[in-house]
């Protein structure tokens, strides 16, 4: 057969050996790239834990590393949710902490005294290398090793995954995506081979996943849907039976060992799909077995109807149990994925989180760039072959793209599927144009136009059966390939350029958008150099150094974990938003007048109140911008006392300047944010809030019940001390008025102190 270019004469064994060496080297380099690109955060800032939730994970890991696993397991944290406290061991997914704890202990056994903080910071980059490897294995099952390498490279550097796994982002997702991909790989392998060993391994990693991330429900539902689809397609086989049953039985039993999960796998609707498919498989397997041993037609009919009957009884059982309350109906976060208006109505806390917002298209492009349009092409190629594992990718693509559209944070679950599918598409393209085999020019030219002109004209964007026809027709003729060298070169060159652009894009996005720790902020000086804004740590360390260890700090829940982690002080509420009423209490205190808030503060032993204020330097994530959520959440509990419309101007605007509503101006949050703010500008009309671009009144609000204790360099964090009751029993407002020399107007004389008898 003619070739388009000459190949060097090397023996097949040498080619094979070199290929496997190249694969190993390539995987090692991909791992290196994956880890390196996640280190921007450490290089630009320092080795620091990021954001909010990671601070709790870090704190818990420290307990685990210093006091051992059993102490951690029984850890009751009295400083969180003051005065309630939190049973940490039973309300946490321990997989992440356990992983770092094991690494920490192993390193120390090897006499490598690594600080636990550095393990936590570098855990996510380390696991991203493992994710790349797991994706390689997974994609290898879909197509071949070259597609696998591409997929590994894609997932290694794509911003969609980096956004959740930069160094310092010590969160559950850091290890969960590796577990997700590896469990899926093992499942595919189990279905392919019908192997109970791989099924059990899948169950084992499923257990690890359950212990690590609440998103395990994605696996719990993906695998049953895959099995069900295969059955509906008439592809039931004993391989499927063995794989599913071994996964489900072992996986479910082991997942119930995690205290936070407990009996949920048999009590909630999220897990019922898996159980239902398990039951269905038993029925189908029984029917298959019985049919093989039966001869008469009547028996077969009887079997058919009895199987349907059993299925209906089973389905009715689920409905009945749900109705009776034995199975919890769909609620909470998972339900809000289907009923998208649900969260806003019933769980405003969930709706208020920015990563739970729907995704606009620029986010998709930012996170996945060229992968996002290679993805449909790859799915089509999966349809072309449609083996059992391809069905899996197709379902994943469908479900994943829906979920990613509903919630920004679920972009993370879509990313692996997009990488796999795009890699399949891209490597198919390269395969075609690198294949040296050159088809022969047909002798009879007349038959060609009929098939050749068809695709361009009839094949639509989605690839209907026209493609199928053409492909089949061409397959029959057996001529497939590229004739000329220039077309090969242009395609390869184009592909190379697109991949290079992808790398540039990923590097830019990672370094600019996803590497900020958000605890430390960066801005640019006039000359382009970096200016670090370190107000958060400054304030938290002030708390740590200057207040008694027992003083309770109140802040909005976003900052609870950071205060606990960095300032080591008890907090009223934190990012584990389990108690809505407690959060609403804080919201009420912030949204009410000083007089109303003071008893609340005193009842909760609050000594310091911390607010985040960005008006001076233009930090837009501050508490005034979050204020409406505080109002909304407390309105949900006290609708008579807090009403959202009162915080708007009569025109319905949210303002902080002269025209702000009276309720707004008298709220504790407003007063604490703008206290002494106008003085900073000399009391003139210059006081400008740089976030909301509004001019503040010349007179700053006054505080009677609180004292300013600390304000950070750029005024981002402001801490107020709650005054004790007046020693003379006056209310603090009149006491202040008295010290200011203002006489209180009395309508009637107050009773004199009685003389002691």
């Amino acid at each position: 057969m003619a070739t388009a270019y000459t190949l060097p004469d090397i023996s097949p064994t040498a080619v094979k050996n070199t290929a496997s060496l190249v694969r190993i080297v390539a995987l090692a380099l991909i791992s290196g790239a994956a880890i390196a690109s996640r280190l921007f955060a450490v290089i630009n800032f320092e080795s620091i834990i990021h954001e909010f939730d990671p601070w709790f994970n870090y704190r818990a890991t420290k307990v685990l590393a210093s006091q051992g696993f059993y102490e951690f397991w029984n850890w009751f944290d009295p400083t969180a949710w003051y005065p309630l406290g939190r049973v940490v061991g039973g309300t946490v997914y321990p997989g992440l902490m356990a992983t770092s704890g094991v690494i920490y202990n192993v390193l120390h056994k090897l006499n490598l005294p690594v600080d636990i903080r550095n393990i936590c910071v570098l855990l996510a980059p380390g696991f991203s290398a493992l994710t790349a490897w797991a994706t390689y294995m997974f994609t290898k099952e879909m197509k071949d090793a070259s597609a696998g390498l591409l997929a590994a490279a894609f997932i290694g550097i794509t911003p969609g995954y980096i956004s959740r796994s930069v160094a310092g982002s010590y969160d559950n997702e850091a290890i969960a995506i590796f577990l997700l991909m590896f469990t899926f790989f093992l499942w595919i392998k189990a279905v392919k081979l019908g192997s109970a060993l791989y099924g059990s391994l899948a169950a084992l990693f499923y257990f690890y996943m359950v212990a690590a991330w609440g998103g395990y429900a994605f696996i719990t539902n993906m695998i049953p849907v895959h099995a069900l689809t295969l059955m509906l397609m008439g592809r039931y086989s004993s391989r499927l039976y063995v794989a599913y049953c071994s996964w489900y039985a072992i996986g479910t039993l082991s997942s119930m060992q995690v205290p936070f999960v407990g009996f949920q796998p048999v009590r909630t609707s999220e897990h019922m799909g898996a159980l239902g498919v398990f039951g269905l498989l038993q029925i189908v397997a029984f029917a298959q077995l019985a049919r093989a041993h039966m001869s008469s037609k009547q028996f077969k009919d009887l079997l058919f109807y009895s199987v349907i009957g059993i299925g209906l009884i089973g389905a009715g059982g689920f409905v009945g149990l749900t109705y009776m309350g034995w199975i919890a109906p769909w609620t909470g976060r998972f339900y809000s994925l289907w009923d998208t208006g649900y969260a806003k109505k019933y769980i405003p806390i969930i709706a208020s989180v920015s990563e739970h917002q729907p995704t606009a298209w620029p986010s998709f492009f930012m996170d996945l760039q060229l992968l996002i349009f290679l993805f449909p092409a790859g799915v089509i190629l999966c349809f072309r072959e449609l083996r059992d594992e391809h069905v899996f990718v197709i379902i994943y693509a469908l479900v994943g793209s829906y979920f990613a559209g509903v919630m920004v944070r679920l972009m993370l679950t879509l990313t692996p599927c997009v990488c796999v599918s795009a890699a399949v598409a891209f490597s198919s393209l390269l395969d075609t144009y690198l294949d040296p085999a050159k088809p022969e020019v047909p002798v009879v030219e007349e038959t060609a136009p009929a098939t050749a002109s068809k695709p361009a004209a009839t094949a639509t964007a989605t690839g209907t059966s026209a493609i199928d026809d053409v492909v089949n027709a061409a397959k029959k003729s057996g001529k497939r390939g590229i004739f000329d060298l220039d077309t090969r070169l242009i395609i390869v060159f184009n592909a190379f350029c697109m991949l290079s652009f992808f790398v540039l894009h990923c590097t830019w996005v990672t370094s600019n958008a996803y590497s900020s720790p958000s605890v430390v902020l960066a801005s640019q000086n006039q000359d382009g150099s970096q200016h670090i804004i370190d107000d958060f740590r400054e304030a938290y360390y002030w708390l740590r150094q200057n207040t008694p260890e027992t003083s309770v700090v109140m802040s909005w829940w976003d900052y609870g974990y950071q205060i606990a982690g960095m300032a080591d002080r008890p907090t009223l509420v934190d990012n584990n938003t389990w108690n809505n009423t407690h959060i609403a209490t804080v919201g009420k205190a912030m949204a009410s007048t000083e007089e109303v808030a003071y008893p609340i503060l005193r009842k909760h032993d609050v000594e310091y109140v911390l607010v985040i204020f960005g008006g001076l330097i233009g930090y837009s994530g501050d508490d005034i911008n979050k204020f409406l959520w505080m109002v909304r959440i407390s309105q949900g509990v006290w609708p008579d006392e807090i009403q959202e419309p009162n915080y708007f101007t009569p025109q319905g605007e949210y303002r902080v300047d002269d025209r702000a509503s009276a309720t707004m101006k008298n709220s504790l949050m407003y007063k604490m944010s703008y206290y002494r703010f106008a003085e900073l500008f000399g009391g003139s009309k210059q006081a400008m809030d740089r976030v909301r671009n509004q001019r503040l009144p010349t007179v700053s609000p006054t505080l009677d019940y609180l004292d300013e204790a600390f304000t950070s360099e750029n005024w981002i964090v402001r801490i107020y001390q709650v005054k004790k009751e007046d020693p003379l029993g006056r209310d603090l407002k009149s006491a202040n008025a008295f010290t200011d020399g203002k006489k209180r107007k009395r309508s009637k004389p107050v009773s004199r102190r009685r003389a002691i008898m």
Binding site: T340, G341, K345, Q357, P358, T359, A360, W361, P362, F364, M366, L370, I372, F373, L374, F375, P376, A377, V379, R384, L386, A397, L398, S401, Y402, A404, G405, V406, S428, L429, T432, V441, T447, A448, T451, P455, A456, A459, A461, T462, G463, T464, V470, V471, A473, A474, R480, G481, I482, N494, M498, L504, Q635, P639, D640, Q643, E644, P645, P650, Q651
Partner: protein, 311 residues
């Protein structure tokens, strides 16, 4: 002499107990009092032992108030639900509607510049007066939407007894779904082979994932308009988009994916080298062009993006 009763009526009304009169008006309006400025004053008089919920709206076509039209049915449903309450309790709370065209002066007095709005006046006298001493008007908060359910729930806090509102059973939906299932089953013979063709499923899958990755759910959840107010179809800002962008972006993604598919799956089966070369160059050109357009669009959304292609 038939004009005489009409002439006497206002006198009679004046003599009557205002609560009875309002009850009569409510009866006439099938649960909702259609207000005029006079009756508005009467209903919200400072000395009242009844409570009232008033819808301030602008239903006239010329006012072009879409939300008013959307809210009005819910309001009437809740009012009718209250109308079913036994008479003894019913007359302690009134539902009323004041249209902008009937009472412009009242709107001005209340300082209302937008409609619809719901004001709730508690009783100031009698057993139903709130202990807190806050008689209103409270403004109903539309943050939970225009649906009747939350409206009834929130208004129930101000009525003497809770409003016995229950969502009407959606027979239409049930019937449509039954009809859908039946017609599907009866058409199964013809639809069946179609459903067994994997390319039908492929088309569905690709369409869904294209639309989803183009931000369709964003437009659904946020209820964004199809185009901007001044006819622009690209919304400014990275976290924002209009309905038309979904179409454009999914078309771009679709074209790019198709070009790749063509290069991978169709071009190699060409039997004539010349034609093959033309197609390779054609599709490569399409990829470059459309990709450039995409990058240019992305630059519009994200102004800080430093890269660009040929555009």
């Amino acid at each position: 002499m038939h004009w005489l009763p009409a002439l006497l009526l206002p006198l009679l009304v004046l003599a009557k107990d205002p609560q009875l009169e309002l009850a009569e008006l409510a009866e006439k309006g099938n649960g909702v009092i259609k207000l005029t400025p006079n009756t508005f004053e009467l209903l919200t008089s400072s000395n009242r032992n009844w409570s009232a919920a008033i819808q301030l709206t602008a239903l006239d076509k010329r006012r072009r108030c879409e939300p008013c039209k959307n809210f009005d049915p819910s309001w009437n449903e809740v009012a009718q639900a209250w109308h079913k309450v036994p008479k003894a309790e019913r007359d302690n709370h009134f539902f009323a509607t004041l249209d902008f065209d009937d009472g412009q002066a009242t709107f001005q007095k209340l300082g209302l510049s937008s409609a619809p709005a719901v004001y709730i006046y508690s009783a100031t006298d009698g057993p139903h007066a709130p202990a807190s001493g806050r008689f209103g008007p409270h403004k109903y908060d539309f943050s939970s939407g225009f649906e009747a359910g939350p409206l009834a729930e929130q208004l129930s806090r101000h009525t003497p007894i809770p409003i016995p509102y229950s969502e009407p059973f959606n027979w239409g939906k049930l019937l449509t779904s039954i009809a859908g299932v039946v017609s599907f089953l009866s058409l199964l013979r013809w639809v069946g082979p179609f459903l067994q063709n994997k390319w039908v499923w492929a088309a569905g899958t690709i369409f869904t994932s294209l639309v989803m990755t183009s931000g369709y759910m964003f437009t659904q959840i946020r209820g964004v308009p199809f185009t901007g107010p001044n006819g622009s179809w690209v919304a400014a800002g990275y976290q924002n988009m209009y309905g038309q962008e979904v179409q454009v972006i999914s078309l771009i993604y679709g074209t790019l994916a198709l070009s790749f598919l063509m290069l991978t799956a169709v071009v190699p089966y060409q039997t004539s080298p010349g034609r093959q070369r033309v197609q390779v160059y054609l599709w490569t050109f399409v990829i470059m062009l459309v990709y450039s357009v995409l990058i240019a669009l992305f630059k519009v959304k994200n102004r800080g993006y430093p890269f660009r292609l040929f555009l």
